[in-house]
């Protein structure tokens, strides 16, 4: 125990809020999936074969307090698995993750939302799941409603909301329920244009508040604009890690054809 606290102190001195050390993750993909007791009894004498799928291999990096870190890579490169390990949903098969603060994971918006409940009840439910206690929710409730632009519909059942309203409400709870460390998986902008603008403003404010953000995204321009550091995953390994401009450029060079790159250069400045 004392060893652990010592280690935590050491991390604090270096201002490191997340440390990922040699993390690997494998998934076993059985050739014949057994998902019932019946299946288990039937196949008890047959040999179980499976393929090992490597989702992450020997990943190490540090994140300092107040840093904005982007994780980029092609589909299936292990981005979301990494984020899930940081969130504590998956256990790494080897290596370890040390986290020195409280995490708000936004892998999906509106976790626990129930369409049969009112907007009010859903705010309390969702915010509690995100780790707020009752007193904190009471304090923030008016702000959440105001930001979501739901107004007088707040006591209506959520099943009567439009899908835009639902995601606005979910997003609004999410941004008010945050802790020191935010993990985000492609949830940056929802709703109409005006609402998206508001969301990006909030995101910029996190910088001033000294929050640490880990962002998984395919929107390279957003990553390049907001992140200080980018981790580029390719085939379950870190291909490059460094300043956002450098890494994003390499990622684009790797993944786009010459024509697409040219097109992007022309459009530069037009995007958000």
């Amino acid at each position: 125990m004392s060893k652990k606290t010592k280690k935590k102190k050491k991390l604090e001195e270096k201002n490191t809020i997340i440390r990922v050390e040699n993390v690997s993750k494998f998934f076993r993909v059985p050739h014949q999936k057994i998902d019932s007791l019946r299946g288990m009894f039937v196949s008890v004498f047959s040999k179980k074969t499976y393929e090992e799928f490597v989702a992450l291999e020997d990943i190490s990096f540090d994140i300092k307090k107040g840093e904005f870190v982007g994780i980029i890579g092609k589909n299936g490169s292990g981005k979301s698995t990494l984020l899930k390990i940081l969130a504590g949903v998956y256990m790494p098969d080897s290596g370890k993750v040390v986290i020195n603060g409280r995490i708000s994971p936004f892998l999906e918006l509106g976790i626990g939302f129930n369409p049969e409940l009112s907007g009010r009840d859903n705010i309390y439910l969702n915010a509690t799941i995100l780790g707020l206690n009752r007193r904190e929710i009471n304090e923030k409730f008016d702000k959440i409603v105001e930001f979501s632009e739901i107004g007088r519909f707040i006591d209506q059942k959520v099943k009567n909301y439009s899908s835009g309203m639902q995601s606005k409400l979910a997003f609004s709870v999410a941004i008010h329920a945050n802790r020191e460390i935010l993990l985000m998986d492609e949830v940056l902008a929802v709703g109409d244009v005006a609402f998206q603008k508001k969301c990006l403003n909030i995101f910029e404010n996190y910088k001033n508040q000294g929050k640490t953000v880990v962002l998984v995204s395919h929107a390279i321009d957003t990553v390049e604009k907001y992140c200080d550091k980018v981790v580029y995953l390719s085939n379950s390994k870190i291909k490059k890690i460094g300043s956002s401009k450098e890494v994003c450029d390499e990622f684009l060079r790797d993944n786009l054809t010459k024509e697409q790159l040219k097109e992007m250069k022309q459009n530069e400045g037009n995007c958000i």
Binding site: F27, D35, S36, L37, R38, M40, K84, A87, G88, V89, Y90, M91, I103, P105, L107, E108, I111, G112, N114, E116, L117, D121, Y124, L125, T128, I129, L130, G131, L132, N133, R134
Partner: protein, 259 residues
């Protein structure tokens, strides 16, 4: 810090339990009446069949009262274990999209079952008033202990099966068949005395049968089990609960990958 974290789990467990409870009754008075009607209808059918059609050895004293008391306890067990078995799969979002300790979800499900049972307690009290039977203080205390133990059995069962159900999806079908088997193997619709005496001690090894039998014996006849019977009973319950926690710890680590 650690304390604060614990408190937030308390809020979470309570919120999950109360939400399911609210959804069941849909915030309406009629919803509550419907919830009461379900076990009452079951009682009415069984009471009719076994006191009119198959009445064994003529009238059994207070048959209806004994039946409703045991039936309510059994409904608590059946509903609680079924909901507990499903709990993790039903709330899979809480397992795969965020980290909350998995036991909070299972605990919330069992608390929800407890709340439903406590609201249904009105029926039992009503029946005792109707038959003008007043249990002694020690009988009521004993009944309270039985309810607590029954709750622990449901919780233990939920810890045991919720994690297994993630991997073995036919477990629910199996359980749906086992439940009626358990109901007929325990002295719920019949008195224990109906069976040959040499089998009593084996039947009472089943904690559910023990609770069903001695709960109605205590409340109606003011008759209690012997010390050695209690020792056996509590040993079985504690061993079962311990095994379920052990199984949960073993199974719960990799659940997010299978769900």
């Amino acid at each position: 810090m650690k304390n604060k974290k614990h408190e937030s789990y308390k809020d979470l467990i309570w919120m999950l339990a109360i939400t399911d409870f609210k959804l069941r009754y849909q915030n309406s008075v009629l919803g509550y009446i419907w919830a009461l009607l379900q076990p009452l209808m079951m009682f009415a059918i069984l009471n009719f069949v076994f006191s009119s059609i198959f009445a064994p050895n003529g009238e059994i004293e207070y048959y209806a009262l004994k039946l409703i008391t045991s039936l309510m306890l059994f409904t608590f067990f059946a509903d609680g274990t079924t909901a507990g078995l499903r709990s993790l799969v039903a709330k899979s979002q809480l397992v795969t999209k965020i980290y909350v300790p998995r036991w909070t979800i299972i605990l919330a499900s069992s608390l929800n079952a407890l709340m439903i049972f406590l609201t249904n307690l009105v029926i039992i009290i009503g029946f005792f008033a109707w038959y003008k039977v007043l249990p002694t203080i020690s009988a009521i205390t004993m009944s309270f202990v039985f309810i607590v133990v029954l709750y622990l059995l449901i919780l233990g069962f939920s810890f045991f099966t919720a994690t297994l159900f993630v991997k073995f999806r036919d477990l629910e079908k199996i359980w749906n068949v086992v439940i009626p088997a358990m109901m007929y193997s325990a002295p719920i619709i019949y008195p224990l005395e109906l069976l040959p005496e040499e089998y009593h001690k084996y039947i009472l090894l089943n904690p559910l049968a023990f609770i069903a039998h001695f709960n109605k014996e205590a409340l109606i006849n003011n008759h209690f089990a012997t010390v050695s019977q209690y020792i056996t009973f509590f040993t079985i319950v504690i061993v079962f609960f311990g095994l379920s926690i052990w199984s949960y710890n073993k199974q719960s680590r990799k659940i997010a990958e299978y769900i």
